[in-house]
Symmetry: D2
Subunit: 294 residues, 4 copies
């Protein structure tokens, strides 16, 4: 299939590469040139401007946030110049309000908006083992399903309203953040009583909490190893704020998210914007006066 | 082995039955007679008073809380009348302060205190698939290991100070409670945007959160089914308070535990003491004005 | 002085009337006609459009929020058509970001932006006993000081950067909200032990807490009387969000504000948008299962 | 009147001195000798043991906590040896559970328990300007009223059940702690935007928050001056825990108290047990990365 792909960060580049490997023709665009050239080496063509990536059947975007999407899609005049019948697959995590706004704007121009945010860190993206939650017009979703199959382990259908996939993604990321804080508090509790965080997490992550989230992050926390970041504190904070915003607009109090917001702010005030967001787990250690790299 | 066993609630009865099945001779005591008679039907002898259960090589206890242990062990004069060299295996979750106090009291009388709290709900206990965290004098631990193997899937060694196992158990139960709240908040968030709690949890518990805690409790939460209780709200609250107490004594702030405490109180104020503690997940729904059985 | 006045809600109308009584010539504009006509009866002239109110020496605004200011000042073309040298005195509570943006925009057109948010409920405004916190260009502030003296009990000078007054106002309103919650929690505590909220608050508001905030709101809380609203829940929530936003942009965690946010959301989810924000104090009663009008 | 007085800390000594000045005969006892000798210099007699102070018409106690009261009153055999008809006026802040227990124990021996906890720091006690909240048997209360009048500015009658005064005192102290945190958060917010804590608090404590609590503590916070302590962090924490305990036993969630508990723990983990509890206000500064003596 002819696919435009915009946004070649760690995640986007890995996904785009898998699409090429699956035999699709990609036309890529990125703000900085280097990642686009890496993909050109794999066979992609490079778009001269964002709008040039919107001429195929499908446009995929994997940009940092609402603002970046707005700048490229609206500011970059893509919407005006896209081919009619284009399917826009947004792989990124955006706000519910923006998902709705964009879906409506695109519908006016005959573009079909499919929300397809992904769960998984860069190494999972490289291994084409992402979990993709997808929602949008059923025909469009059916059309792009082979693409999602090529980048992920499994696709989860969530219906026709795009924001349904978006809210599930936000809820999932929120739950990951709660797991970080919970491990951080539990680790502080046992450490203060002479038991290592690793001793605790070894037991739990092989038993009741034997799930990827706890295993992957549990190791980082047990080793207090937060650099290099696979998912930066700043991005984690963005997603948490999107969850709080989505909850606020529907009048849903989320006290755990409120605690997390305060801890993100403290980590950022301490200059840890570029640490892996797993470093959130150090805030409880900090408050308890335990040794911490934060 | 000759084993005394005191405390035949849902958990204790299932564990004791498994010890009998493994070929051990049990002498059981319980406050109410019925469960003791059930075990007698499997071959146990019934102790006429608590102290009569402390004449074998090992005494196992599975009582509700510190007070129940104190009433039976101290009030029931077991400590005075136990056979010297007795190993006391405490399978229950008690406070760190009480674990220390009891270990010291028993040491004075030549009794070896082994903390061996277990992770698992009644059906897991019946299937002899508990996870046991154990700490105490290494010789005593080695001696009782076959017993622990008979009741559990795996035993986790945590060293010679009994309270090390206790704090790991408290930290683990605290983490389960955080998972309940996290699922409850995430469910409220998606429900307020028209997505079912079951839709969300189906995705997450098969992917990032594919762990027993999330699967077992996720189903209860998706179905809002909190009766009959496998683990009562009141017991969950007891364990949370023990975690807060252990944290407080070591000056460890636990903000998630603080939120949980407030939510437990609200659930209890609403008369839900006998619901499964998974019903904690309904508090966020309640605050958001969503339909809830709480 | 020739003063334009835009925004004649409960507060604005009372303030404008006091300016007329002090001998100033007012040209007023309001979205709905009735309040403007009330002031015309006192001697004000009515502007045919917002820009017509910007032809005097001073323009005062008292609009609901950032959006209303943006709609009228930017959308209403006031900035383009204002007389050069105009002093814009903003009496309302806006965001710090908007205060900065507006000050810069106006500076480009030779308008001097003075932030002068006020503390006090409508009856205080009527009595010309507001407390005004003011910041802006010193010459402009000096020029408008007689006006501020005419509407308030005292003016507090906070320097030349307008956002300094804004942040003090936001911090003050946040502190009022904490007082509401604190009284609500304390009332729930004593009520659950058989002591009336009024008994508690009578003691405290005549002793340690003998301050206007506690006296005024303490009475409403003791009587659980939240209608009619002097300051609506929705407006209180707006101000709290501005405080959280100002704090977030500077990486300041505010855990009390986080609790308040959750309680505002719950009150709004319960349909209490139009109650006086003192009704926040009912959330703790609600959680404790005590009788409450919320 | 013949008064026994036990507990001569900063508060007790000041109160006892005022009773002597009012013409009463005091027989004092204290764990350490020096303060008793200071009072002897004013005319008091010194009891050789606690029970010797219980031979008059009234026994007043001002001890640190439940444990100290238990040690002296029960351990010191006062209850057994007190004169029948004795009125025990407890000026200290104890737990509700202990107030009830003690009242019942004393009633069995013909002693009348009057709860009369006081609001005010040492300098207020010296000036005989305390606020006393009193509850107990009306005849006993009437009998001791002249004594309370001699040590305080005003006595607040709260009925015949002693714990009614106790819970009002706990609620009051909790509210003071919320004011400390609120000022701390507000100060962090404005400081992060370049406004001094003193600038903010000067405005607020002369206007909306013109109450003793805000004025006294506001000055300490503006100057970040927390030593010497008039009321130690450790004592403040004790009172907060009593409030949480009283709330918990009646199933009242207190989220502000939960935040305060976490902040007390952090301050104590940081080694600030002996700072004035006003230093709680530094925790928000700490989390925001602002300069702080904590």
């Amino acid at each position: 299939m002819e696919i435009g792909f915009i946004g070649l960060g760690q995640m986007g580049k890995a996904i785009a590469a898998n699409l090429i490997r699956a035999g699709h023709r990609l036309c890529v665009w990125n703000r900085s040139a280097a990642p686009a050239e890496e993909l050109a080496a794999l066979g992609a063509s490079i778009a001269s401007e964002p709008a040039a990536a919107a001429r195929g059947e499908v446009l995929m975007t994997m940009l940092a946030d609402d603002e970046a999407h707005r700048a490229v899609l609206v500011g970059g005049a893509i919407l005006e110049r896209a081919s009619r019948g284009l399917i826009h697959v947004n792989l990124a995590t955006v706000s519910i309000a923006f998902a709705r706004e964009l879906a409506a704007l695109e519908a006016q121009r005959g573009i079909s908006y499919v929300a397809a945010p992904v769960f998984g860190r860069p190494e999972v993206a490289q291994a084409a083992r992402l979990n993709v939650v997808v929602a949008g017009d059923p025909q469009a979703v059916a059309r792009v399903e082979p693409l999602l199959a090529a980048i992920g382990e499994r696709t989860w259908q969530l219906g026709s309203a795009p924001e349904r996939a978006t809210v599930v993604k936000l809820a999932g990321n929120f739950m990951i953040a709660t797991a970080l804080e919970a491990m951080g508090e539990a680790a502080a509790l046992v450490r203060a009583h002479g038991v290592g965080a690793g001793e605790l997490l070894e037991v739990l992550t092989q038993t009741l909490f034997a799930a990827p989230v706890y295993r992957i992050y549990g190791r980082l926390i047990a080793e207090q190893r937060y650099q290099p970041a696979a998912f930066r504190m700043a991005l984690g904070f963005k997603d948490l704020r999107l969850a709080l915003e989505a909850a606020g607009s529907a009048h849903v109090p989320l006290p755990f998210a409120s605690v997390l917001r305060d801890h993100f702010l403290e980590a950022i005030a301490a200059g840890r914007t570029d640490y892996d967001w797993a470093a959130l787990a150090e805030i409880p250690a900090r408050h308890a006066g335990l040794p911490t790299p934060l």
